[in-house]
Subunit: 554 residues, 2 copies
């Protein structure tokens, strides 16, 4: 008997890095291909990508990829494509028009040129055993879709990031009818549900409520209005520019991501803004301040973003004056508090009027469903199995509680870890094997060439710096009178002559002692390192990376 | 004419590291002596302390310190005493009994033994020109005081951290009468006000409301109840143990800070808990799980804390089982989100019932006054000048707005930066000079021996590691055939032979080229470093710290 197999390659328990493999007999269907964001202990890591080794293994065994769908245009669902697709054979890729354009843009950053076919809602695409159709839903980027995936073992509802917006900006409501009809006519075997915001018990406000807040905050500003927001949030941008235009202000977009996304959105008619209202950022000086509204990237206070450069006086064209007003139309993402509030504090310090969600209500609403919306979706779809996605472990736990409160038993809520194969055969779930996945870290141009050793060295050096001890060896004999000490990040070296001499002396002493032991060179160096570490800790209470090396000189 | 001078040595615009100098003629009075917490870019720094150079300078000029008061027992108000007091001459120190005991404990960590005299409220202590009395207020540690400081130029109200709790656990309400009488009989020249929570427009709930939430969450737990909270929050601990005892559970305290603080609080009768209810942590196994309530340190998910070691199975006596329930009775402090939620996620992952303020209302209430409480205090005191403290720049800005909304003009709200001298003479404010202050960073046993250079090296190494190139020199001639490459945190070196050879080759090439230029050694190495950096960036897109050094060998 054949089985439908679903393998989450990322995103289980850590929110981002979404990539799912649907497998039936010798066919694989891919859903999403997103990046993840490094944890605090992954210093210097730019981003994480899903580990596609499993897919390569299956290809080698003669299976093939029938196609790929992308659910929406956020980086944690599309931005790994530029890394992963070049290593895979060609296959058709589908997405809604805006998602396709955003993903194409991301891939072009990696000089990857793969065509993505834009699809229309409720028009199934047959890909081998699988038939996939998109249906409308609402989220913080337009053109977000849920997927109905028909398989020989039943229907899977792929309910990626969503909210149930009752009054969306583009008028496109979540397709409740499609879900109801599907539940009634075919029945849903398994439903994946974005559970990220299950901690919230109140209905998420409609995106359209933000307009009132923007009107309130944009009124009576003497100088420029500077609005910062998530650059893919086209509907938020729509509302901001609508208010600005109604106030007779011209619009300026500043920041690579904002400029690129807006260009795409206007082209695809997802953003309705006539050219005459837009001015090039190099022409700001030609207009009076009170006739300008600037939409600027950097809503998380990111180092190097346009907003941060402007705030600290380092932006070429954007200068923020005390008469201006800066509006943060975005919540801080957990972990970004320090740069986010530093940006606001600096504006407050120099006397610029600044508002942000903590003090100005409704300046931001979430794009994710709260608990009652998740419940509503489940009750509409009445799936046999539930599969919470997009949340951390605590969210999945609460989702399980929610499911049980409306009649599901624990066995019908699937909580696989990354790589855990979920199987369905004749309507019944079973647990498959666990695919081993690596944390694929991207740092610069290197992918997967750093691991725990490199990271732990980075951590030690970030905390206490390093000390390299070069011990020259003449004809196999260490010259302890000529030890060289190289150190950075440990203490301020220009005032540390005494310390360096001390370390040289201690190294020589320890080496003399150790030499008598006739140990192997490697063991000797490790013991030297440990002893020196103890002495340094005693002297100054720090634990730098200590690297003693011999250097053969003839 | 003499002036009253107030010099904030820390805490302006960055919340923590509180220390104020009050100065009149040749006398100085110190209020508080707290530590600060490092910013993200201060890697490896344990904590910050106020820079007391100004005080030392004044002492050298013949001034003297008449005494010191501490407002309450939080580390950002008391914990720098162990670093700063040993360098200063003896002077009397005063605080409320619990604050005195907590501060004594902190100083003993540094083997500093200075007596602190416990004071009673509304009993003025004359210290030279100054007369200081404490009055009761409420906060998240018992025995928190505001100070009334009488000076020859007028009365200063030192309104450090507070809330206006209408139903405090110990029954000690803020002393409204004292403030009213002071305003009426003497008039307040300047009032400092803790403005940290001014972003909140709702009244802060009374600490006593937490009890209901604890009763709700502690009911019907099959196994152990594990409660984690701020270890100095004795009133929270009081409520938790009251509920636990009423449920017939024994109390176990786990974690150095919790154990120390509880011992002190019981001794001073600030925590009411009979010995018979407490069990030693080594006797946990002697009791049934459902007869135990454990109060455990680590409410921020701090690495190495008792709670985190227990969660990850590394605690000697505390083991958390799926039948247990873990209660976080503390909000996450901004910046701690990742360890805090990682702890919760790990508990959820292994199936332990865990509740925290995001999902269980009233499990935590703040100890700081919201905007209406700050307003109430100001209206009661009617000071001539206002001086917001304890907040960041954005809070001070909002405080100014609040003050202006109740009739103050901008000139009567004082917003000095750290080190800016605030002066009063005959009831009038004037701006004094600005005292230069250094960021005094503590790392291990070293204080102030690391600065921006060390920190920027740590940052570079934390992001991309380091490469040391040792180029041996024989009789002044570089031996390019024997270059040694030592690298950590850059790429995984065991698989980097090719890369290392490449770097050696490139170094030799660049050196050959550069040698022709007849440059000085230092310039040569700097150019080598820059060129190599460019090549490495091109190869792998990383920017490690590159350290080329010559090594003279005979």
């Amino acid at each position: 008997m054949s089985k439908l197999r679903i393998i989450p390659l990322g995103g289980m328990g850590n929110v981002t890095r979404n990539m799912f493999i649907y497998e039936y007999e010798d066919e694989m269907l891919i859903v999403d291909c997103g990046i993840g964001f490094p944890e605090l202990n992954m210093q210097g890591v730019d981003l994480l990508i899903p580990d596609a080794t499993y897919v390569h293994d299956q290809l080698e065994q003669g299976k093939h990829i029938v196609g790929m769908f992308m659910t929406h245009g956020h980086d944690d669902h599309i931005a790994a494509a530029g890394y992963i697709l070049p290593e895979l054979p060609e296959f058709p890729i589908y997405a809604s028009p805006l998602t396709a354009a955003f993903a194409t843009q991301r891939m072009s950053d990696h000089h990857v040129d793969r065509e993505i076919t834009p699809v229309r809602d409720r028009e199934p695409v047959q890909l081998g055993y699988f038939s996939v159709e998109t249906i409308a839903t609402t989220h913080s980027v337009p053109d977000t879709k849920h997927l109905i995936i028909r398989t020989p073992e039943g229907v899977v509802y792929h309910g990626s990031d969503f909210k149930l917006d009752t009054n969306p900006i583009d008028g496109v409501l979540p397709d409740y009818d499609a879900i109801t009809a599907l539940a009634r006519d075919e029945g849903i075997l398994c439903m994946m549900v974005d559970c990220l915001r299950i901690e919230n018990s109140k209905l998420t406000l409609s995106e359209s409520t933000v307009k009132v807040a923007l009107e309130r905050e944009m009124a009576n500003v003497r100088g420029k209005i500077v609005i910062t927001l998530m650059s893919s949030h086209i509907h938020r941008i729509q509302q901001a520019v609508d208010v600005a235009v109604s106030m007779g202000r011209k619009i300026v977009f500043i920041g690579r991501s904002v400029e690129q996304n807006v260009e795409i959105a206007i082209l695809l008619k997802k953003l309705d803004l006539a050219k005459e209202h837009i001015i090039d950022k190099r022409r700001i000086e030609d207009y009076d301040s009170d006739k300008l509204c600037l939409i600027v990237a950097g809503s998380q206070g990111q180092e190097g973003s346009s907003l941060i450069r402007a705030i600290f006086g380092e932006h070429q064209v954007l200068h923020i004056d005390p008469a201006d007003k800066v509006i943060f139309s975005a919540d801080v993402i957990p972990g970004n508090e320090q740069p986010f509030y530093n940006a606001i504090d600096e504006l407050a310090r120099v006397g610029v009027d600044v508002v942000y969600p903590d003090i100005a209500h409704d300046l931001h609403v979430s794009g994710h469903a709260s608990a009652p919306e998740q419940k509503q979706l489940i009750e509409l779809a009445q799936p046999k199995y539930l599969f919470p996605i997009g949340g951390a472990y605590r969210h999945r736990k609460l989702f399980t509680d929610l499911a049980m409160s409306i009649g599901y038993d624990r066995q019908h809520v699937l909580l696989p870890e990354d790589g855990q194969v979920v199987q369905f055969e004749g309507d019944e779930y079973s647990r498959g094997e666990k695919v081993l996945l690596r944390d694929l870290m991207v740092d610069g141009k290197g992918i997967g060439d750093i691991g725990t050793v490199v990271l732990s060295d980075r951590k030690v050096m970030s905390q206490n710096g390093m000390i390299v001890l070069v011990i020259p060896k003449y004809k196999g004999e260490a010259d302890l009178s000529n030890i060289q000490v190289i150190s950075r990040g440990f203490i301020f070296m220009k005032h540390a002559d005494e310390f360096v001499e001390n370390i040289k002396k201690q190294t020589a002493e320890i080496m003399e002692e150790l030499k008598k032991s006739n140990e192997k060179e490697g063991d000797l160096l490790r013991r030297l390192e440990r002893r020196l570490a103890r002495r340094i800790d005693k002297m100054i209470g720090r634990a730098p990376l200590i690297l003693p090396v011999f250097m053969d000189v003839e």
